[in-house]
């Protein structure tokens, strides 16, 4: 299968390792990956902060770039949720029938990374080796918008050497919320404090997740507090093998 990678704007600049890991895993599983270099951003930050005309421009650009792609893989629940929850409405509001049609056509082809593996490729064992104590943070978008359920956990359970710890109060938001983290910095920090306490209570050394947005926020606090616990994206764990070590 030819899988088109939508890296997402922030992974591209801040977490290229996640992108590399996605490519590694998909190629290991025998698939070809393409990267359409004209891609930029899904528009979530602008849309959620209230800058809707700008978000529509980014929507148009996304559709242009990914026209004709068979399968699109996106290692970020929030970006996929942006598309599923809001693109249809944005297109309808534009009144542009072509835009509406393009959105309808592309959406069924977009998969969040764990969705792609479990639902589309039918895989729960990615052939990984990662001998660490790991807990997993399900992002709010992953939990409520995408209904990922325990797909990520299924994948982690089949990683050799990995011990999975259940995260208490897993349904509580970590406090990132995009621009919320800076517009309401104090509340965001208070929410983050609760989340880090839950993570530390598991005694895991690694906190994983499917969204680097949450992980950047969580990892930032884990680092600031010198906890020794690191935040690592799911894809990077699944990319790890004995050889790679």
């Amino acid at each position: 299968m030819l899988i088109s990678l939508f890296i997402t704007c922030y992974n591209d600049a801040l977490f290229p390792e996640t992108g590399k890991a996605v490519v590694t895993v998909l190629e290991r599983l025998g698939h070809a990956v393409e990267f359409r270099s004209a891609q930029t951003c899904c528009g979530q930050m602008h849309y959620n902060t209230g800058y809707h005309p700008e978000a529509v421009d980014l929507l148009r650009h996304f559709l242009e770039v990914f026209a004709g792609a068979e399968v699109i893989c996106c290692p970020s629940s929030s970006c996929v949720s942006m598309m599923r929850d809001h693109y249809p409405k944005m297109a309808a509001e534009s009144g542009d029938p072509e835009l509406i049609r393009q959105v309808q056509e592309v959406l069924p082809r977009v998969y969040e990374f764990s969705e792609l593996l479990v639902d589309k490729l039918g895989i729960t064992d990615a052939g990984a080796f990662y001998p660490h104590q790991v807990t997993f943070h399900t992002s709010c978008h992953g939990l409520r918008s995408l209904g990922l359920g325990d797909k990520p956990l299924q994948l982690l359970r089949n990683v050799r050497g990995l011990t999975l710890h259940e995260l208490p109060q897993a349904d509580q938001c970590c406090g990132f919320g995009g621009t919320f983290a800076v517009k309401n910095a104090d509340v965001s920090a208070a929410m983050l404090s609760d989340k880090t306490q839950c993570i530390l209570s598991t005694k895991a050394e690694i906190c994983s997740g499917g969204d680097n947005s949450c992980l950047m926020h969580i990892g930032g606090a884990l680092s600031r507090q010198r906890t020794g616990v690191k935040a690592v994206h799911l894809a990077e764990i699944l990319a790890a093998t004995e050889k790679a070590r």
């Binding site: 890296i7 591209d12 929850d85 709010c140």
Partner: protein, 474 residues
């Protein structure tokens, strides 16, 4: 028309107010405890109801239908209530509602009035108007009484005094009730409240209430409660005035079969609350001989006119969204600066005021969606929050630096070429703030990030750079 929502127009911006609340450990402990308890209770009784999702769907559908025909149903209610001996008044805004109520009571020279909980009266600041007219309002809901005696403000829709623990309540009672001694157990405190209020229940001849449901078909009113003070205020006085927002009307009596299942489970985690009182106009020999209903707009018709946000008026004031909200959990209700706090407050408060005030409230959310999940009438609060944020931006009310940053980002992300350049500049620019691979003390809005979190510097090579190199090497 002068819409007022309590003191919302003068309130601190949410981030500022929240900062103060977050620093108050006692408050955070109280709020966390209270919301955990109700959330768990709610989870249990909702979990056992197999038709919960069907009830939610029906609740949403009934409310939407009613709003679509609001003029018809309000008139039908007015007709039937009047036929049964009630007097129906219409108030454009808070001031008019207060004036009507004060006039009704002043005409009868009432000096004291017992009140059963109604947030609508907090919205209009009715108590201030009553006191100005020489009429003493006596709050009879235990929590509202705690708030009134403590000269405080309510912080939750259903449990307004949840920010107080028993020690604080005991202090308030000792002082304001003039008691010599008072025990420390909740039972003792409730006992003190009972004695203090009973004397008034049996003596005061005027009562004020809100309404949970106004039934158009029959002209009936329904009040949902737990303590019994509602029953007291509704049936013992000689005159009763009920203040209700126009969105409280429902088409038929039987529609309450849906709401009386949704509300108690969502609000207090019970299968049914202790008391529901349903009355129709005036009944000779039983209860008030004079009964008035004041139907109030105070900005609701503005919300009605905005189709995308109209669902805000579906709200049945259960408070479940407050209990589920991870932001509310950290700040409590006072941070919202409005009688309506939490997720519903964040969308209702600014809209009632035509977005002229409380513009920081739509941003008081991480859009986690927990509120939508628990809302018994399926209000898509996150979507409405985003809709209101777009309004704030459209109205030109967002901070200049933010507008600049957003436009800049949109410009940079218009195509990959520009994005590549932006990466370059970012990598160059960050060197000023970089130390040992981390970025410290970022300026402006981004300072809020680095104040609490370490941030790694941008990697030297973006993903697209790496891909390009890899492809070139093949």
């Amino acid at each position: 028309m002068s819409v007022r929502v309590g003191e919302a127009a003068e309130a601190l911006p949410f981030p500022e107010a929240a900062k103060k609340m977050v620093a108050n450990s006692q408050l955070r402990r109280n709020v966390r405890h209270a919301t955990d308890v109700i959330r768990n209770k709610r989870g249990k009784v909702v979990g056992e109801k197999e038709d919960w999702q069907e009830l939610r769907a029906a609740g949403n559908a009934i409310k939407r239908h009613t709003l679509r025909h609001l003029d018809y149903y309000l008139q039908q209610f007015e007709e039937n209530c009047t036929k049964a001996g009630g007097h129906v008044h219409w108030a454009k805004d808070a001031d008019e509602a207060n004036r009507i109520i004060v006039d009704i009571l002043a005409k009868r020279a009432e000096k004291e009035v017992i009140k059963v909980k109604t947030m609508t009266s907090d919205e209009t600041r009715l108590n201030v108007a009553l006191e100005k007219a020489g009429i003493t309002p006596v709050e009879t809901d235990l929590a509202d009484m705690i708030v009134q005696l403590g000269e405080d403000k309510p912080s939750h829709i259903v449990v307004p005094a949840l920010h107080r623990n028993r020690m604080e309540i005991r202090e308030i009672f000792l002082k304001k009730m003039g008691l010599e001694t008072l025990g420390y157990e909740p039972q003792d405190l409730a006992g003190a409240a009972r004695t203090y209020l009973r004397e008034r229940f049996l003596r005061v001849t005027a009562g004020i209430s809100g309404a949970n449901y106004l039934v158009a078909e029959t002209g009936s009113v329904c009040v949902v409660e737990s303590e019994g003070n509602g029953r007291m205020c509704l049936s013992l006085p000689d005159i009763l005035v009920t203040l209700a927002g126009v969105e409280k009307v429902i088409p038929r009596f039987e529609d309450m079969e849906v709401f009386l299942q949704l509300l108690p489970r969502s609000a207090t985690g019970e299968r049914m609350n202790p008391y529901n009182s349903i009355w129709t106009g005036v009944t000779p020999g039983d209860g008030p001989r004079e009964f008035h209903v004041v139907l109030m707009d105070n900005g609701r018709t503005k919300v009605l006119a905005d189709e995308e946000a109209r669902d805000t008026l579906d709200c049945i004031r259960c408070g479940a969204c407050l209990n589920a909200c991870p932001v509310y959990r950290q700040t409590g209700g006072h941070a919202y600066g409005s009688v309506y706090g939490g997720p519903i407050g964040a969308i209702l408060t600014p809209q009632l005021q035509s977005m002229e005030h409380s513009q920081t409230l739509p941003y008081a959310s991480s859009l986690c969606g927990a509120c939508y999940e628990v809302c018994p009438v399926k209000i898509n609060i996150p979507e409405i929050l985003i809709h209101l944020r777009a309004k704030v931006v459209e109205n030109g009310d967002s901070p200049f630096s933010e507008r600049l940053a957003m436009k800049g980002a949109a410009f940079a992300m218009a195509n990959a070429g520009r994005l590549g350049v932006a990466h370059l500049f970012a990598r160059l620019g960050q060197s000023v703030f970089e130390k040992d691979g981390k970025l410290e003390d970022l300026p402006g809005l981004l300072g809020g990030w680095t104040a609490f979190r370490d941030m790694s510097a941008l990697p030297d090579q973006s993903f697209r750079d790496w891909w390009e190199k890899r492809e070139a090497g093949r």
